[in-house]
């Protein structure tokens, strides 16, 4: 039987519930990724003798992980119970996995920064920084799984792209911010990370929005559409500025800031897309009805 052309619904009401997350959560996605990628940058800088780049990268990492912890706790309905995140370790819950990654990464990043700034225990600092760097690939990608592991079509159907998108955005924002802060003669790796991350982010975002079928349209409408557009422009222009003018400090500051802002807008675009996708029952009913009615 041919399914009806327009998906039916119950008075046009949403089937799914919108995420209850406020702006804290996309802000967490941004700052957590920034923290992870900065600490990877710091470790590489340490190993290649770029001491001033290393310090700025590890301070960026500490500031970002502190901010991200605040964002996570602030968004909870019962913030005083945040420590319950460590009651269990559940691989079926990316949020549980992420809590444990953060529980390891946060102190490691803190020790790496503190030992450097205070000039004490360099060996301990090196081990801590290595630990943070080892966790950094997980920290920059697990949030993509967290978002995709829901029933919301715009998120779940983007599950092949989201980890790449968030990792690229993390690299771009870390490269951009650290390049803005560090002396240009040491900041080469950061500049390159900003440009490469920005390029990868633009490609991943394009793939996600185009391959997501009819629910990809949320990325072209409403708030998600606006944030997505802003993200593309800031990231693209920032990468160009960094590429062409990044060897001088002003160019690095402008380019790096734009790239980071672009990565932040991308997280907010994804968050808004989830809300818009949950609100439209057609996104749920259409593909599911087609699946059920397809001749087997």
């Amino acid at each position: 039987m041919v399914p009806p052309a327009e998906p039916r619904s119950y008075y046009g009401r949403p089937i799914l519930k919108k995420p209850v997350w406020e702006w804290f959560i996309p802000a967490y996605f941004f700052s957590g990724g920034l923290a992870g990628a900065s600490s990877a940058l710091a470790f590489g800088a340490r190993l290649t003798g770029r001491t001033r780049l290393a310090r700025r990268a590890r301070l960026t990492s500490l500031a970002a992980v502190s901010a991200s912890t605040y964002f996570l706790v602030a968004d909870l309905g019962r913030p005083e119970r945040f420590v319950n995140m460590l009651r269990v370790a559940k691989p079926t819950s990316p949020m549980s996995v992420g809590s444990w990654i953060l529980a390891g990464f946060g102190p490691a990043s803190g020790v790496a920064a503190a030992t450097d700034v205070l000039g004490i225990l360099p060996g301990v600092g090196a081990v801590a920084e290595a630990g943070a760097a080892i966790l950094s690939p997980a920290l920059t990608t697990y949030t993509g799984v967290l978002v995709a592991n829901t029933a919301i079509p715009a998120w779940h159907e983007a599950r092949h792209e989201l980890p790449w998108l968030f990792a690229a955005g993390s690299a771009a924002s870390a490269g951009g911010i650290v390049a803005a802060l560090a002396p240009p003669q040491e900041a080469g790796p950061a500049r390159r990370m900003a440009v490469a991350g920005a390029a990868a982010e633009l490609i991943a975002a394009d793939r996600m929005e185009r391959q997501s079928g009819e629910w990809g349209e949320v990325y072209r409408e409403g708030r998600a559409g606006r944030y997505s557009c802003l993200s593309r422009w800031c990231t693209g222009v920032g990468a160009l500025v960094m590429l062409l003018l990044g060897r001088r400090r002003p160019g690095a500051v402008v380019g790096g800031t734009l790239v980071a802002v672009g990565a932040a807008f991308q997280r907010f675009a994804v968050a808004a897309a989830g809300e818009q996708s949950a609100e439209d029952p057609r996104h749920v009913v259409g593909p599911q009805r087609a699946r059920v009615s397809a001749p087997s």
Binding site: S9, L16, P19, L76, V145
Partner: protein, 277 residues
């Protein structure tokens, strides 16, 4: 009729048989006694006196403060149709009391990072309110849009299948209150047999649209602890036609993340190789 035993899979060695609801919507008269009984027994807060202009449905949807929701649909139908063979000329009523499905593979339970959402010995899914910290991850994970966060409270709430009543050998409040036995409570395997018999009887009587929703193990959530007999497509009642637990794709997602993480690591290394510049 075999029923998956999620309680055993969750580690209960000895436990009562899995229980749930069979909601036969052909018997529903739309009285909403189930909504009232649920709220009274569980002390569920008032969520407003609203006029929603959706037939007699002024409740709207399931949520943190609505654990039973009666849906009303007025279908245009030729006179003389309906399970009793008669009806108002031109209008067929569809009425159904919606509830948490207590899925065999429950996405809310899978994603809960604190372990607050748990499987009970009865095979049901409940929120432990002393543990929930209101992270809200379960809310977008549910393919039916059941669970939600209570704004003034901060924690998430949903149907408990009257866990406290089950522990005292009582049936859930909604099932007890239902005057037509549209909401039937009991061991899930018995309910499934009863449901299939009922569908066969309805088909013999000419109600060919009768179908079951969530009564088998083969659907995307492994079968529902609360399943339904419907007279039209699920989406007409506000139910997803083919719900799938999101965690089914999780191994694949972790693999994707692993690849992206490896590429990130290689990429960072690449930023440092070569002459100093």
């Amino acid at each position: 009729m075999t029923v998956i035993d999620p309680a055993a899979l969750s580690g209960y060695d000895v436990h009562p048989p899995r229980v749930g609801f069979f909601t036969d919507t052909t018997l529903c008269i739309g009285c909403k006694a189930c909504e009232v009984a649920c709220k009274e027994w569980n002390g569920v807060p008032d969520d407003g006196l609203n006029w929603l202009t959706s037939s007699y449905d002024h409740t709207g949807a399931l949520g943190a403060n609505t654990w039973r929701h009666v849906a009303f649909i007025e279908k245009q139908a030729p006179a003389g149709e309906g399970p009793a063979g008669e009806g108002t000329a031109g209008v067929q009523w569809l009425m159904s009391s919606d509830v948490c499905k207590h899925c065999t593979s429950a996405a809310c339970l899978d994603v809960c990072p604190t372990g607050s959402l748990m499987r009970t010995e009865f095979g049901t899914v409940v929120v432990q309110q002393d543990i929930c910290n209101g992270c809200g991850y379960c809310v977008p994970a549910c393919p039916f849009g059941v669970i939600d966060r209570r704004h003034d409270d901060g924690r998430v709430w949903k149907c408990t299948l009257c866990y406290d009543r089950l522990k005292n050998d009582l049936e859930p409040a909604c099932a007890q209150a239902c005057p037509t036995k549209s909401i039937q409570f009991g061991p899930l395997d018995e309910l499934r047999v009863r449901a299939h018999d009922r569908v066969a009887k309805l088909h013999d009587a000419g109600t060919v649209d009768a179908r079951l929703y969530g009564a088998g193990d083969g659907d995307g959530v492994g079968g529902m602890g609360a399943f339904f007999l419907l007279l039209d497509d699920p989406e007409v009642y506000g139910l997803p036609p083919d719900p799938v637990v999101t965690t089914r794709d999780l191994p694949d997602m972790w693999l994707t993340a692993g690849k992206a993480a490896a590429a990130f690591a290689v990429g960072v290394v690449a930023m440092f190789v070569g002459r100093r510049r």
